[in-house]
Symmetry: C2
Subunit: 242 residues, 2 copies
């Protein structure tokens, strides 16, 4: 009996995911765009160490500093860059992707243009939606975060980080696009390197920022679809064209 | 002597304006784009009635309701829609433009694409930058407002209103674009009618919203250049294309 109940639950989940996928495809109808449903990771943030640090700093109105290990003997080793956890792992930049996939279960998607469909936007802050994006021979980390910079007023922050060095990151431009209800919002910028701290990018506000009312206008039934595109930017001529 | 001092001051102002104009042209280099330097109107907001209402509501964390006259006998008459003043004027929609030009000294610019260069972004909130834009046979009002929704955290809100009815407004799409420091932010939406209240559009957050740090990234020497384009949108197919 329990087996059948679980099967029925799984089928309902599949129907729900399929429905969300269909809705996103309807909005982002360009052929060949991959739609990825991304669930929030609210509960994961409450690993004891990180949680305490986040809550203490929230009370003081500041963001926690990046998690760095006190003794990194090999300068080529980087700490775990997953923004969800205070994770003791460290390793070379080349194995960060496999660490994020295997240990933190972050999905990876292929394709120059994908649609990131963040579900359950109503969940209370702090909440993260995270995915990796493989494109143009590199891997990128997309972070959408719901956070209260001012108490009682959560905002959404979206940014893209290259899993690579700052020099490599300068060769790319990423675009995030929201498109619904006869409104369109586009953000284009050079990705930051994952060696920089995602927390500081968000606290600097140097990313796509949405207040709750705008997020509601762009979301459909509690899900927010963000179109993502990455291009190479060998010549930084974007300022010359309009 | 006083005459010469005043002349010298005027020449300095002209050189300063010319310099700002040149800078904006450099950023928005598309040929034929008109750059308009728009000065803030901080002091004008402190007309006693309006000022008291704004300050009282700021303290309560809410925005003042629209200024409406208690007795409008002719339903075809509309009150003054200038967001700067609590102005007792009322008249037909057709003469709103001339009232705004003559009484409130709001400039009007011609052209499908213009660049709005707002100066002195550092001035404390509340501050407005306002211009009228004549395009496609209609007049639009562009309002950029610096306002503190959360105490100590001013934000910038930019929106475009059609000086016409809501039905007429539905025929257009406006685009606001910021482009600097390898970052680009675009907002596209249907303009609201001037018969709706600009204060409520801004308090709803249904417009381009910038926090201070993002505004600083996009501004150059205290001035923010916003590219403006207006198009007709007979078929609302924007959601289908990406």
């Amino acid at each position: 009996m329990l087996f059948f109940t679980q099967c029925f639950g799984a089928v309902l989940d599949l129907i729900h995911l399929r429905f969300q996928h269909y809705k996103a495809k309807r909005v982002f109808s360009a052929a060949g765009q991959l739609v990825c449903v991304v669930n929030p990771t609210h509960s994961l943030k409450y690993a004891p160490t990180r949680c305490a640090a986040v809550q203490a700093s929230m009370e003081q109105g500041i963001l926690p500093p990046c998690h760095h290990h006190e003794a990194v003997h090999d300068p080529q080793l980087v700490p775990c860059t997953c923004p969800l956890f205070s994770c003791p792992w460290e390793g070379h930049l080349e194995v960060v992707v496999s660490h994020l996939r295997q240990t933190h279960r972050i999905n990876i998607l292929q394709g120059a243009e994908i649609v990131f469909l963040a579900t359950d936007m109503h969940l209370p802050a702090p909440t993260d939606w995270i995915i990796m994006h493989s494109c143009l021979g590199h891997q990128f980390l997309l972070v959408l975060r719901k956070q209260e910079k001012h108490e009682g007023h959560p905002q959404f922050f979206a940014t893209m980080m290259l899993i690579g060095t700052p020099t490599q990151a300068n060769n790319f431009t990423y675009r995030l696009e929201l498109n619904r209800n006869q409104r369109r919002l586009k953000w284009e910028a050079t990705p930051r390197s994952i060696l920089e701290c995602v927390d500081s990018v968000i606290s600097d506000g140097d990313c796509l920022v949405l207040n709750t009312s705008l997020a509601q206008l762009f979301s459909d039934n509690g899900s927010l679809a963000i179109g993502i595109a990455i291009t190479t930017s060998k010549v930084h001529s974007s300022e010359a064209e309009m």
